[in-house]
């Protein structure tokens, strides 16, 4: 069986599908509009699975009980009559796998870790639950978790292995002392890499060529600030967006540093040893460049107090011309900029370099949580069967019916069904694979053979080029021929810098890293705002003194075992 394309779920960027509906309604009336499904009604039990080609593992007979805990955010919506305790996933686990999944509690995502800590510490441990890296380590050391090594070896299906092996560090992250203690919840790692987003309409208006080097970026930043790109006659634009947190998926400066071959916050190999990017000398020149930009008014004078929402506001207002961010930024917040100014178009560029060596965009492992089983639970293999059900039937599927029933109906984009289960493993290369297929279809002008998800993306891009639907730019800027997704392919090749440290934090890291990170953000903010660059050298010294040396030793000890 060969289903080797990492598939993305269809209904994730709900905005996108709302947009698609809008475009299709306005531009291709009736003809292309799919018949809406009665998405309000809960599917009748019994024949939901009829006609679906499901690969079903051994069913427990009689059914077994499994307690768990989960998160439900304020955004999660349910089909009529369903709730978190009774929905397509709980019914499927019960009727198809013979597992009665019971949630002991359900909490908002922001409080999950704290509530789990309280539960576990007061002795109320669920049979199966999700943990983060530090909890994995702590609970494993406390002997609370079941060893999954042999169960995984015996029960994991081919597709489960395929998904988990697609990310080379996935299983390693869940391995402590040579044994497997959890199933990592996989996702695309490379999708956390930054690209450079530039107001293309401003570039065109001011007749500036596309950025090829960091020198170009600095020049664009200067012109965007000084030459009134929004044409309102007021000196109110800035070149580059930045937030008080410095790093992040939106307006994070790590991409800028990458242009100077500096890799803040990640570990990379230098002569066989792992070094920490934030304390390397390459940081200096990037900091000096930012300091200069700030002095010339090209950064927000008040970036040091602006959080992500306030920066989003600046971008939406059309006062900012560049930002370093991840591939999906057009879905949010860049779309807001276009909503306020129909002509606005943000284009993605690979991170430019300051010299002849191509810049490498930094990214980290996407593995941030693990499915674990309580030590002493009678059916630890039930977890693997749930994972198998997901990987065999759902995540790689080309069947639009299966997607509609288990993931969400494309016509009801706000009901995202996979949010009802904690067992969700995405194919690590999904975004890239979908993008490639969409681009191939665009080149051939032929969407046949595309699954529904890719087809929608294809149609949206077509709507932009053929009907001039301006809102459709978000898809052009991501999955289009010159979009951000093809850039990620390069990052996955030799234009990326992977954080070589992954898995559970080392003891010194857990104890000291938060302080060191705060110190770093403070230093960077101060230097950018004009304090002498010697602050950086001082920071490096203090970093080593206040625990850095210890962390480096521990990380390299780990590295020697996990090369």
């Amino acid at each position: 069986m060969k289903q080797n394309t990492g598939k993305r779920c269809p209904s994730r960027p709900a905005i996108l599908f709302l947009l698609a509906a809008l475009i299709l309604a306005s531009c291709a009336p009736k003809a292309a509009e799919p018949t809406p499904q009665p998405s309000g009604a809960a599917a009748p039990a019994g024949d939901v699975y009829a006609g679906l080609n499901l690969i079903v593992p051994n069913k427990y007979d009689p059914p077994i009980d499994m307690t768990s805990v989960t998160t439900v955010n304020a955004t999660v919506k349910f089909l009529n009559g369903d709730d978190i305790h009774n929905n397509i996933w709980t019914r499927t686990y019960r009727d198809v796998l013979g597992i009665n999944l019971k949630y002991q509690w359900v909490v908002d995502g922001s409080m999950y870790e704290q509530k789990l800590g309280l539960s576990v510490n007061s002795g109320e441990i669920p049979d199966m639950f999700v943990v983060g890296p530090s909890q994995l380590l702590a609970y494993q050391e406390a002997g609370l978790l079941a060893d999954l090594t042999s169960i995984y070896a015996a029960e994991a299906s081919k597709n489960t292995r395929f998904i988990l092996d697609q990310d080379p560090v996935a299983l390693k992250s869940a391995t402590i002392n040579g044994k497997l203690w959890g199933i990592p919840l996989t996702d695309g790692s490379v999708t956390s890499a930054s690209v450079l987003w530039v107001r293309q309409d401003w570039l065109d208006k001011l007749n500036i060529p596309a950025p090829k080097t960091m020198a170009d970026v600095l020049e664009i930043s200067r012109r965007f600030t000084e030459d009134d790109p929004d044409g309102n006659g007021v000196d109110d634009t800035i070149g580059l967006a930045a937030t008080k947190g410095i790093w992040g998926a939106i307006a994070g400066l790590q991409g800028f540093f990458n242009g100077y071959h500096a890799y803040p916050g990640i570990w990379f190999d230098q002569g066989g040893k792992l070094v920490y990017g934030s304390v390397q000398p390459e940081m200096r020149s990037a900091l000096l460049a930012l300091q200069d930009m700030y002095a010339k008014g090209q950064l927000d004078r008040e970036f040091g107090v602006k959080d992500i929402n306030q920066v989003t506001e600046t971008i939406a207002k059309g006062k900012c011309g560049m930002e370093f961010g991840v591939w999906w930024n057009p879905y949010h917040p860049l779309n807001l900029s276009q909503q306020n100014d129909p002509e606005a178009y943000w284009a993605a560029y690979p991170i430019p370099s300051i010299d002849d060596t191509p810049a490498r965009s930094q990214y980290s492992s996407a593995i941030g949580s693990f499915l674990v089983v309580r030590a002493g639970y009678e059916h630890p293999e039930a977890l693997i069967r749930m994972v198998n059900f997901w990987t065999d039937n759902i995540v790689l599927t080309q069947d639009d019916n299966i997607r509609r029933i288990f993931l969400g109906d494309i016509n009801a984009p706000d009901v995202v069904l996979y949010k009802y289960t904690p067992v969700v493993l995405w194919a690590p290369n999904g975004t890239i694979e979908t993008g490639r297929k969409v681009r191939e279809a665009l080149a051939k002008h032929d969407p046949s053979g595309l699954d529904l998800d890719a087809q929608w993306r294809y149609r949206i891009i077509q709507a932009y080029f053929e009907q001039g639907v301006k809102e459709a730019w978000v898809e052009v800027a991501t999955n289009g021929p010159n979009g951000s997704v093809p850039i990620l392919e390069g990052v996955l090749g030799d234009r990326g810098m992977f954080n070589r440290f992954y898995g559970t934090p080392t003891p010194a890291m857990a104890a000291k890293m938060p302080t060191l990170e705060t110190m770093e953000a403070e230093m960077i903010t101060k230097v950018i705002m004009g304090e002498p660059i010697e602050k950086f050298d001082q920071f490096v010294e203090e970093w080593y003194r206040l625990g850095g040396t210890e962390i480096v030793d521990e990380v390299n000890l780990w590295y020697s075992k996990n090369k």
């Binding site: 439900v72 304020a74 007061s122 790093w247 600046t314 995202v416």
Partner: protein
């Protein structure tokens, strides 16, 4: 010269008025801003064009809130919490404050009990023991978990006990001569004389009940049992920008929707704002009566 009849010169009067008006404006501005946001279009709000007057007026946010059953549900839970929690707090506070306000020769163990209560103000058991006690008493996921763990607010007890002490004991003695027992003294003499302090303490506990969010998030086992502030907390909290992935897009979308947030925050403000005018006139004198003279 008595400062009360001293009339300020015009200039200083003007200065006073200006400064006070500015202060009032400072307090009023955020509320007006939230109100204006809630009536503005999402695009206008997202691009920061709204100050204190709605831009592109729309009722969409209120429509959204009304259509959102989670908001209504938690609103009712919060109302219930205030309506049940405040009397429970007040009754227990009064019943604890009375014996603690008695002189030592009438209540020999008074100091022991006073310390017994005060120690809980000085030292806390920590989050996990707190949670475990509530769990062992079977309150987790129950409405009463929002009421009982904080049923005796010790700070308020001290306030009230001090206030009782300031009441001349001749009044009690006179009542006792007429055959009044402890209950009569408490309800017929002390309480009527302590109305200012009672109003203050009532306001404290009502506001505290209305505003608390953390216990709801931790003690309830599903979001449909959250009180209003717990629910709001899940809507207004900002995610860590470093941890954002494309899976969080729907969350980002909601969070960046400042108009619906504003509408929810504004509606949540109204009930407790309505309590203030009735109680506030006792407020300042209440605190002074209780603690300074005691």
């Amino acid at each position: 010269m008595n400062p009360r009849i001293y009339k300020l010169p015009f200039f200083e009067n003007l200065l006073n008025l200006t400064v006070l008006a500015l202060l009032a404006a400072l307090c009023l501005f955020p509320i007006l801003h939230i109100l204006a946001l809630s009536f503005s279009s999402a695009a206008a709000a997202a691009s920061g064009r709204v100050a204190v007057w709605p831009v592109e007026f729309t009722l969409q946010s209120y429509q959204f809130v009304l259509d959102n059953p989670a908001f209504g549900k938690s609103f009712i839970i919060s109302l219930l919490r205030v309506l049940v929690g405040t009397p429970v707090n007040m009754i227990l506070t009064i019943l604890v404050a009375y014996p603690l306000s008695r002189p030592r020769d009438k209540f020999r163990a008074r100091d022991f009990f006073a310390w017994f209560f005060i120690i809980t103000v000085l030292f806390s058991g920590g989050l996990i023991p707190w949670y475990m006690v509530i769990r062992q008493t079977g309150l987790i996921d129950k409405f009463w978990a929002l009421i009982l763990p904080g049923a005796v607010p010790v700070f308020n007890v001290i306030l009230l006990a001090n206030s009782f002490r300031t009441i001349p004991k001749e009044l009690e003695e006179a009542a006792a001569m007429d055959g009044a027992g402890h209950w009569t003294v408490l309800f017929k003499v002390l309480l009527p004389l302590s109305l200012p302090v009672l109003a203050t303490v009532t306001l404290f506990v009502a506001v505290a009940h209305w505003n608390s969010w953390f216990d709801g998030l931790i003690l309830m086992n599903s979001p449909d049992k959250y009180p209003l502030q717990s629910y709001l907390q899940t809507v207004v909290v900002n995610p860590d920008p470093r941890m954002l992935t494309e899976r969080d897009l729907d969350l980002l979308k909601i969070i960046s929707n400042r108009t619906t947030r504003a509408a929810q925050i504004f509606i949540a403000m109204i009930p407790i704002l309505m309590v203030y005018p009735f109680l506030q006139r006792y407020f300042t004198s209440g605190i002074k009566l209780g603690s300074v003279k005691g």
